[in-house]
Amino acid sequence: MMADCAPEEIAVIGNIDHTSAELKNNIRNSMVEMEKGLLRKMEISVAEAEKRSGKNAVNMLETYTVYLIETRPVDAVTEDMTPAPDLLWRRYSEFELLRNYLLVTYPFVVVAPLPEKRAEIAWHKLSADNMDPDFVERRRVGLENFLLRVACHPVLCNDKIFYLFLTEEKGWKEMVYDTGFQAKADSWLKATNAAFRVKNPDKRFTELKHYSDELQAVLSQLLRVRARVADRLYGVYKVHGNYGRVFSEWSAIEKEMGDGLQSAGHHVDVYAASVDDILEEEENYADQLKEYLFYTDALRAVCRKHELTQFELETAAQDLASKKQQKEELVTGTVRTFSFKGMASKLFGQETAEQREAKIQVLEQQIDEGEEAVKEKNKESEDFVKTAWVDVERFKEQKDRDLKEALISYAIMQISMCKKGIQVWTNAKECFNKM
């Protein structure tokens, strides 16, 4: 929970009594409670998921999942009535389209990630099947989270396309393409894939890039190991279930010992069964970590954009410098650097004064243009650095808050698990004592 919403529940250690539903998305709850951005005006939720079948682009029948987005104006909810929400259905690919649009249109924003397309980091019990109901449910939660993040964002919440995503089911796709973002997306893609070296990147962005690489590595490892830990924990608990059976059989051949054994066996069965709930809750923690793992891509994208603008600036500046130098050489008649023109003039004789004058004219114009370009690029770069860094700072604060929240929930889960363990073994011990 946020610092200003019910920290007492957590602080009183002896009384940690969160229900699993509360814990399930404490970060989502805090976003809603904060009522920032669009959330001040409307409630947003991804209420349901449904399977659909239809013909796809190549006329083949496919099954896919659609998600129900419910919106309702905040002030529509009065004491007397709660009007029905507006509804529309979206599939995952439409969420992806929205996100790509936002990435391209607001390159200085660390855009929230979407939940996994496919279940990749899962422990054995979870199915990697996209149609698995547990997976679909967790994805539904993840999509809602994404929408809330965007709705909360000081810049993104004002975007028209985002608003239409929530309100206009038909024709939304066409509207997105009408913005012409696709062209920008293509050139952006080309630029990011090209290799280029930036001479003077802003140090903060270089550090940020390192940080996102480190965070990605450590969160990947953490999620992998956690999944293995969950696997093993499952094994430990489930094997205890065998005691229940043998105690029951054994109690049948005993006289005085029988009752104690039988009832103890029941408690050990309860213990063995409890692991299912425990691990289901832990999946929420894993999902919260995953969100930040995926966030590192967005961080890297912002750094990359900075590098690109910086590179364009440096290229423009370099061009300008070389034009100026060329002009100087022509004016003073000295050739400082090797050039084919220089060689040619040496071999074929000097140019005429008019030829040289013409060249100088051209160069002077190019220099003027170049200086404009450099000014422009400089402003672009500066603006980008400014706006991007504001969003990076916002992101950092959000990350620290959310991850602390996630760790608290995790600790609370562990505490609850320990208490249950103590309880069940104490019960079993009482039964054993009666043997």
């Binding site: 610092a3 920290p7 007492e8 957590i10 602080a11 009183v12 250690i13 940080y211 480190e214 965070l215 450590v218 969160l219 490892q221 953490l222 190991v225 956690r226 293995r228 830990v229 696997d231 093993r232 924990l233 094994g235 430990v236 094997v239 205890h240 065998n242 005691y243 043998v246 059989e249 054994w250 051949i253 005085e256 010992m257 104690g260 103890a264 620290d400 991850l403 602390k404 760790l407 608290i408 995790y410 600790a411 609370i412 562990q414 505490i415 320990c418 208490k419 363990g421 103590i422 073994w425 104490t426 079993a428 011990k429 054993f432 004592n433 043997m435």
Partner: protein, 441 residues
Amino acid sequence: MSASTPKALASSGQKPIQEMCHPLGLEEAAGVLTPSPDVGNTRNSIGEKDLSLPNGTPVETSSPASSSSLLNRLQLDDDLDGETRDLFVTVDDPRKHVSTMETYITYRVATKTTRVEFDLPEYSVRRRYQDFDWLRTRLEDSQPTHLIPPLPEKFVMKGVVDRFSEEFVETRRKALDKFLKRVADHPVLSFNEHLNAFLSAKDLNKRQGLALLTKMGESVKYVTGGYKLRARPMEFAAMGEYLDMFTPKLGTIDRIAQRIIKEQSEYLVELREYGPVYSTWAVSEAELEEPLEGVASCIANCSSALDELTEDMSEDFLPVLREYVLYVESMKSVLKKRDSVQAEYEAKLEASASRKEEGTTTAVPTDVEKCQDKVECFNADLKADWDRWQNNKRQDFRQLLTGMADHNIHYYEKCLTAWESVIPLLQDQQSQETRSDIEKD
């Protein structure tokens, strides 16, 4: 002498000793699980009241190890119905002996007693496993109608188990201690000459055993095979059936316990990799550094607790189960012996009956009568031992299983403490101030 246990062999008519507290219970309650003689001091707080032996002599606290178990026996003796104890034994203080020929371990066997059969009230001798084995064999030979408690396994695979490791020696010591206590508690076995020699002789001359045959009269040699049993009395048949059903349960429980230990060990391996990842993460962070380090050290604490749990279960739980398998084997062989004694009697009876018919004799021959006596004695001894065994079994398993529950409870308590200590690290200064405000209300 206030001791009410008879010297002679318990024959039919004697009431079996029912509610005698099992020595195992005392051992565990005393917490005397280490070989060091200092251990007894931890329990001295219990012995605040004025304790004395049944005949009025005060309890000496000079030899700590045996006196601690002494104190605890007296403690638990409160619920006995008048039954008193006058023979207390302990096995402790394992020591390694290295000679040119071999290396072996000896244990101190300490005895405190008021019985007249012993010259002194206290003894302290050193014995090795071989000596215990000798004692057991002598007991089996001289008291064939009784159930002799089992010894821990004699042979250990040299490559697989380290015979001189602390764990192995300690496990063995506990089992030897249990063995000796069970013998010392037995109303008949405890009066055996060989036990006396074992407890008191400076040097155990094992060849002595052959000369010290039982005073019971004729040597009891049993014919194995040759005679077929006609009708096993119901109660002994029931015993056999029970053992046949009980043995597989023991096996299953052993397998489950081993499997759990294995799963826990694998869980531990993963935990030991899991914790440090939080530390690695902490390095990249600023505000989250402290909380993440907190989580890492918390997981490390849980790992240690799990390690302890697994170790405790290996050391305390599995050996006792295995011992019961051996115990069941002993009981089965005594039942078989009883069967063959009865078979012999039946055969002789039948032979004499047919001779009677032929008219060659009129009286029942004395050897048939003797056989009948043998059968009746055996049946009575066995029944008494069976009841004792059932009772001890009940107490042993109660203790074993409550011990298992306790180990798990302690494990979860340790983990709980570790995780609770992480919570304050995860909260802002701000909300901590809020908390202290709330707690003031």
